[in-house]
Amino acid sequence: MWDVLRDNNLDLLRQVDRLQEDLEGISSSLLTELRAYYEWAVEAVGACGLQARQNLEDLELRRDEILPDILSSSQVATRRLGLLNRRLLSPLLASRAARWALPRRPLATEHCLYCSARSTSRAAFASALVLSPSPLALALL
């Protein structure tokens, strides 16, 4: 379980890095009306990264009593990034797509596909475990 959670949080960090790169990429061409929303999004994605780093630090402690807390915290960060990726970043990423006349498919979808394609089987299992309902995940502890 320690290794599964570690892999999951490392995968989260990679997703955060890619989202941050993409957000930086649209910064200069952003519509003025979206600036405040953009800044909120940058902060929200950064918060997911901070949470994943904190989880990795907590995992390093190797204390059994906090494992359920780290699992829950990993689930929170995963769901939060999922919400950002699938729904809340779409207006920003779509604005770039519209400006550059790119296909309408949200770039966030590309992230998901990219991340899935490069996931190792253990990381995929980790994601499934962390996204699954807690009672099931806790039963596996």
Partner: protein
């Protein structure tokens, strides 16, 4: 507000609540285990405030509607009312929910949050664990609506 955004708002509120529970739970457990955790002191203090505010709202929802019936409460957040209903149901599940929070009341847990005594901190850890279980059960329907079935 559309049901969709109500789900997003409720999802966000429950995520913040879980963040507060987890930070405070880890901080308390580490301190009880003799491990200094200064880097999380602020997050734990913020978590206490978030939890106090939540327990106040839950307590009010329970008292206003009558704990056994939980009928409509004018002006009450419908998702909070659903959570209050789950709370009442959980109270009857003594096998799974037996902490001070479920045996007594949200205000008893608030007292544990303010106490700081080691014996109370142990009881608080149990309350946090069970409250998290309740919120995660409740969150699942919002998560499915917001993120799609996983």
């Amino acid at each position: 507000m559309s049901p969709d955004w109500l789900a997003v708002q409720s999802f966000g509120a429950n995520q913040r609540l879980l963040t507060a529970i987890n930070a405070l739970s880890i901080h308390t457990k580490l301190r009880l285990g003799g491990v200094d955790d200064p880097g999380r002191s602020q997050a734990a203090a913020d978590g206490r405030k978030t939890l106090e505010a939540f327990l106040d709202r839950l307590d009010t929802a329970l008292r206003q509607s009558g704990e056994d019936e939980l009928g409509p409460v004018l002006g009450a957040d419908p998702r909070l009312r659903e959570l209050a209903r789950s709370f009442v149901a959980a109270r009857r599940d003594r096998g799974r929910f037996r902490s001070v929070l479920f045996r007594h009341s949200p205000s008893e847990m608030e007292q544990l949050l303010r106490s700081g005594k080691p014996e109370d901190e142990k009881l608080l850890v149990e309350c946090l664990k069970e409250l998290r279980a309740l919120v995660e059960d409740h969150l699942h329907s919002d998560a499915a609506e917001v993120l799609g079935e996983i």
